[in-house]
Symmetry: D2
Subunit: 315 residues, 4 copies
């Protein structure tokens, strides 16, 4: 073969297997979504269409890869940018940076975490293969399905995401990982909800709104919302307060549509058949033909969720 004298370069392709029988958490993060959400005029504090699109892409990934047993999409961290010599974007909820000129605040809807069953042998647990393939499929579905959620708002440029795998040896760590993300979602969304109420309804500048919130604890934020804007935070849509929880639920055989667990999820779950059902994937799907992926907006910090779904951690 003409190329054979060059083929030695293949020996530089080193193996990168991940430790067997260990949970894989795969976390995807939007790349420069601050700019992306600006350019596409995402609603604040949360953009429902953008969240639904994230859920859709996540569901597509879970349809294709049956070893993903759980997905969690967040109304991400807010990021406060300050007017300073160099603009710095904080990825944190430490509110007081001593600056007086916080300018912008966002919930980006750009983080999604997948949990792969610990026994998965997907791609022989090769790290780069898994990271790149899942990131690619999510991205592809995001762009592919954009027009469906933003029919009047064409995509300006191709968005991108980055992904990473984190290994966890034990169940408690998995519980704590998802608790960490959902607690974050709560903190961010509460701050954000009050902040934008102050700006959009209260007429404060963003600088004033940050000043108003500086140092307030959770209870005080609830009170501001309620006393000034008649909003009971606990009645805010759970989607925003809890994030999106994607699980593979068993469905009763004859009536597929009967199993949608909540009215919210129903809307999400009634998607047309995934176009990705190709030859290769089919046998898998037939083997588990009695499950479907549903999108919930429920608590995943307490035990109830997990007790009801022992298969997530026992797989």
């Amino acid at each position: 073969m003409a190329g054979s004298k060059f083929a030695y370069v293949r020996k530089f392709e080193l193996p990168d297997p991940l430790l067997p029988d260990t949970f894989m958490v795969f976390r995807l993060d939007g790349h420069s979504f601050h700019r992306f959400s600006d350019k596409h005029n995402f609603d604040k504090p949360n953009d429902l269409r953008a969240l639904q699109l994230m859920d859709h892409a996540a569901r597509d990934v879970m349809e294709e890869y049956s070893d993903i047993v759980l997905g969690f999409g967040e109304s991400d961290e807010f990021r406060v940018s300050f007017h300073a010599t160099d603009w710095v974007l904080y990825r944190c909820f430490a509110i007081d940076r001593s600056s007086e000129t916080a300018a912008i605040i966002h919930l980006y809807s750009d983080v999604i975490t997948f949990l792969l069953r610990k026994s998965t042998e997907l791609y022989n647990r090769r790290q780069a293969k898994i990271v790149s393939t899942l990131t690619s499929l999510f991205t592809s579905s995001y762009v592919f399905n954009w027009p469906r959620y933003f029919p009047d708002n064409p995509l300006q440029y191709p968005p991108s995401f980055d992904g990473r795998i984190i290994l966890y040896p034990g169940e408690q760590q998995i519980r704590d990982y998802f608790s960490w993300r959902q607690a974050d979602t709560h903190i961010n969304n509460l701050y954000n909800t009050v902040f934008w109420a102050l700006v959009q309804q209260g007429g404060e500048t963003t600088t004033q709104a940050h000043a108003t919130l500086r140092g307030t604890v959770s209870k005080e934020k609830h009170e501001i919302l309620f006393s000034r804007f008649q909003v009971n935070y606990n009645q805010v849509d759970e989607r925003y307060r809890k994030g999106s929880v994607l699980v593979r639920d068993e469905i009763a055989e004859p009536v597929e549509s009967a199993v949608i667990p909540t009215s919210e999820a129903a809307d999400d779950a009634v998607s047309e058949p995934s176009p990705m059902k190709g030859k290769k994937a089919k046998p898998k799907r037939e083997a588990k033909s009695k499950t479907r992926i549903v999108v919930l907006h429920c608590d995943i910090i307490k035990n109830d969720f997990w007790d009801a779904r022992p298969g997530i951690l026992n797989g």
Copy 2:
């Protein structure tokens, strides 16, 4: 902070830096592109639109990441399944392994390799970050630009790619890596060109065509093409014979359009301004405002290409 007792889970995020000052080859590969090309009726042996779309996505990635100094897109390997001892199976999907005859042959147009300068500090050389981000942007651009190249052929479902990084310590290995890929391109395309001529113009079945070609060397394939179909293989479009070579060429200051190096490349290079030129990327682009990415279809095995562009290996 509410989430702080869970935050320990972050310590499981281990560092994955790649060796400094070492060339990074990043290779992207279409996922299940056999099915994808079937579903979208790609022309055989090569689909020009699909190749141009690959080039476009590759150029978008290079626009965004200035540390990529070279791209190479291939009319991929052919994949044939045979029942024979002396035939090489290329990553085959073996439609019918028990048959005596090859069943299917394709050029997929789904492999692209990028070379990052060895001194790159992109994302601090974090492996998963680089692999996932580049894969994601390429995928995103591919889907985003699909309608431009296939206006009457809507995308059926979201395609995906996988990527991997291979490190090479030396220049010779980089030369040999790209030689290996281009030699492959040549071998595959020659076989494929004759094969489809036999089928489409010669009226052979695919089984017959494989039988005709079995054991033939390069010279004999040229002769079949010429004597039976009056095709001089050396006059087949270089795009198919050489693949696509994307480089960053300096351009003369005042007349941007004057620098297109070849008439072939001209067509590819005259794209509208990339929509990705955002705030963040701008400074980079200004710094190198006198380069643009061009698509060539030239030899990269011999020295000429490299001698004319010392910056590729010296960066």
Copy 3:
């Protein structure tokens, strides 16, 4: 600083942390111990002095590193070379691969496994640091203590060992790892005991002895031992049948010597104070002043051993 322009070379020292909260199994293996045991005339089938020296070195390592919660030393695998299809070759060095008969058989006494508690932060879990330091200390103690066990048999040349770390996420895997090693010890030692009885007492050649044993199951080996040599294998010293199990047992405060669990272990455990107790290590030792390392030769496959020592897996 004179050296500062060269100091950039440090950036090539990449981090190599091991996954947190995961069991580390550290296995040491003698390098070329076939030759080593020959040169030093080790007794066959087992050399008591060599085994005791291994135990001593293992204990020195455990004295120094309190995060090692278990050690297991084996009368290693036997290694036989056969010319047969149904015989398993254990890591063999194949003295005569073309012969029909095995040429040499040994128990090498050269493998030791340490278990580190899963929460250990030893050297920040840096892989090369742990592997090299533990290997080095074991080797050092082995050479240092050689004259004590082989007073009339001076060391001919410096022996060496290699080590590796294997991570296990779960308790069951740890149980199975040690079961695997002890089951191996049993199989090897039984074969070996019969083999050398046939040779040393039965007057067979090694070739004949292998032929005698070929195809025999465990029960048949027991019978040969008993009927021909009046040896009840179950009464063979447990050290040889079970290997050495090193654990950290709590000791009653006032009478240190009273706690030796078995008469066998007593002999091993009554060593003079370790000379390694240096300033740095002292605080650690004081904190756990009520434990000492004992050498047992007990079953570690069944539950009893583990049930009695929950700290090994819960650490």
Copy 4:
């Protein structure tokens, strides 16, 4: 096989190959050698016997592993320990830590670096195997040969070392690595030589000596040495100023002893035949029977050393 149901635990043994065709620098470092040198009354500022023992062990390692093309042993960094609430040992030559009570200064003679040829396939370039085996053999030889260099000073306890591999893609980095270490050796030894002259001959306390040296540059240290103690630093034994350089030099066939390059090296090189020449290693040694390892104390920062030995970097 009885153990077969447990054998799955082997699948957790993951591959750890190092990048091909890349230089491996293997650096060994004494573990707690501050205490070790104290306990064994090493001479200050340098202990000749300890240095020769290091060289001997290094040579044993190079005898056994022909892919090691260079060794460099240092009169290590000095480490200053201060009287402070917590004693801190600095591994640096930053003299002024604002403390007035520096107490101890040492040259430890405990660091050795080996360079493996970039093409080496030793143990298939498996990282843990190489790191552990080389560390072990060095340690073993150090303990084994101790009595030869310290006949009246028995080893008090087993010393240990740790090792790590650093990969370098290019020749210049290798040059710079060794320049960095030798520049360090120079700086440390100069400081140390003056310091101990002030203490041992000048009657200063260690605190006074540090005060005297604080802020002095190289030239001033030379002057103190010369004016107060009539010592021309440039005439101090090169061993201390340059460290030990171990290379494999070709030797003239008939008269082996004629090739010793310097009188210093001669003494080092005339060792009895290595006891490690075993069956397995022999063929290798015969193939390169015309080389021997010599210990030099020469400059390795300038080009001369490397120009004379092109094989070190070209292997």
